[in-house]
Assembly symmetry: C2
Homo-oligomer: 296 residues x 2
């Protein structure tokens, strides 16, 4: 990326490029039933920061990966993220009516369509990764496919969601348990995003993995703090949800000041992990710092 | 396969071998939250004919594919089939309480777990296919991954399910429309099963694709007839469901006798498509004939 680009501009550029690629990959009315195609597009192309595609793009840029490859991986990852939100919002799970200032998918369509559009988005992610346009080498495409499946499945994101639901009815007194849940539920996709950049560019993934783990925890702590301190108007979705459900958060266990301090430590850890990449990782470092100050 | 093996024995052997492979691939309590692992196993290892893995095994045997590769593809396909049943049975879709004589997944666990276990099973299918144990050549694994994603996604199984739900509230008077729905909803996975055998063995897939299309329609017509003529006790699940929902079936449009005649034509078409393979396709031909006479 351009060495003078601001983080805000880089995030906006990553989002609009990702959406352009996604718009071409999502089915239209000629390639899926109209209602399903509309629901998939509503879920995947709605407002959103496209933070995970941004992480793929920036990680890949450290290794001079062609942008179009990073964009396809980012688009696939965004499909998985969008599916997970659609399913998490369902009445049987979080039962949310509002997401990113709009009706959630099952409120805009219906429950059956939301379940099926989520299923189709997850499936599409693997179709995108397996396509030769993602990387000319079959081994690279397979490695991406396997890693995404591991990150998204029972040992990753879905497993984390199951533990998170269980946490609503169980007293949790250890931050280590919350960290484990969050490392699976939200951390696994952040880790995939950063590892994918290294994988696409045959680079060393370990520092990016460290960065992603700190980034993911910082993201979750700031999410907890926003849930407590923000309003639905500012956030575009319901707040105070965790407290209403009796779900333990970082803020509960550490107090708001303690959570802020931990957030700051995680951001520092993320920035420190980028040292091997020097100035080329500037935007990744700024993204971690932004997490601590974001308002939505 | 042994040239003297009966269809019943071949089906039983395919099922027990598939289950053994599946049992090793599904997560245990060390690799996923216990409740999720239990739900995935309940869905994927419950009673069932394992017809799709059987088709993979038999198609692959035409090209002398090592059995362990066919079994892994069959196991991945069974994960997709099991996920689709778990999601279709949900209250927001068919709202079924009984499946294969047992409580459906969301009745045995709960709705959230059924949704998430389905998601994890779909994800696991791609993890299995992308693993090098499935085929030593990366290009073959990728072709299987792409084809499964296409068969299972918005242009295939999930798209067919959306059309099938829409058919409940729409008057359908053309068998061609029901055929289109069924080619997507149930046909796509049967087609993948048969194509996978050719793909694993670098064989010609066109005759197997023809076989699969006839097989899939025969399967669906016999399903419609069983829904009308059988009882929950014999079938292990609710019957008369299509009629209760006002959903048009082959039997409605063609009459029971007309549907039986069409079923017979589809079975003949399936058997005729196998001509290029001669006696080696005996069990595939018998499987098509069995579809017309099955009682459950």
């Amino acid at each position: 990326m351009d060495s003078t680009l601001s983080l805000a501009d880089a995030l906006a550029a990553a989002a609009s490029r990702t959406d352009a690629v996604l718009a071409g990959l999502l089915p239209d009315h000629d390639h899926a039933p109209a209602r399903l195609a509309d629901a998939m597009r509503y879920a995947a192309l709605g407002p959103g920061k496209r933070l995970r595609p941004f992480l793929v793009i920036e990680s890949a840029s450290l290794f001079d990966v062609p942008l179009d490859r990073a964009l396809r991986v980012g688009a696939a990852l965004e499909c998985v993220h969008a599916y997970s939100l659609a399913h998490d919002d369902l009445p049987a799970m979080d039962d949310d009516d509002l997401r990113r200032r709009r009706p959630t998918l099952h409120r805009a369509f219906d429950e059956a369509t939301a379940i099926l559009a989520g299923d189709a988005l997850l499936t599409l992610a693997f179709e995108i990764l397996a396509d030769e346009a993602t990387h000319p080498d079959a081994g690279h495409r397979l490695a991406l496919t396997r890693r995404l499946a591991q990150a998204a499945g029972g040992a990753g994101m879905v497993g984390g969601q199951v533990l998170d639901i269980e946490a609503e009815t169980r007293v949790i007194s250890e931050t280590s348990h919350i960290i484990r849940i969050q490392n699976m539920k939200t951390g696994a996709l952040f880790r995939f995003a950063c590892e994918a950049g290294a994988l696409l560019g045959d680079g060393e993934a370990a520092p990016l993995r460290q960065y992603a783990d700190h980034f993911g925890l910082a993201f979750q702590i700031s999410d907890d703090l926003l849930d407590i301190e923000s309003t639905p108007g500012a956030l575009g979705k319901a707040t105070q949800k965790d407290r209403a459900k009796g779900k333990a958060t970082f803020a509960d266990l550490l107090g708001v000041a303690g959570a802020r301090a931990e957030l700051s430590r995680q951001v520092d850890g993320a920035v420190a992990a980028l040292a091997p990449y020097g100035a080329r990782a500037r935007l990744l470092a700024e993204a971690a710092r932004y997490i601590a100050t974001r308002k939505s």
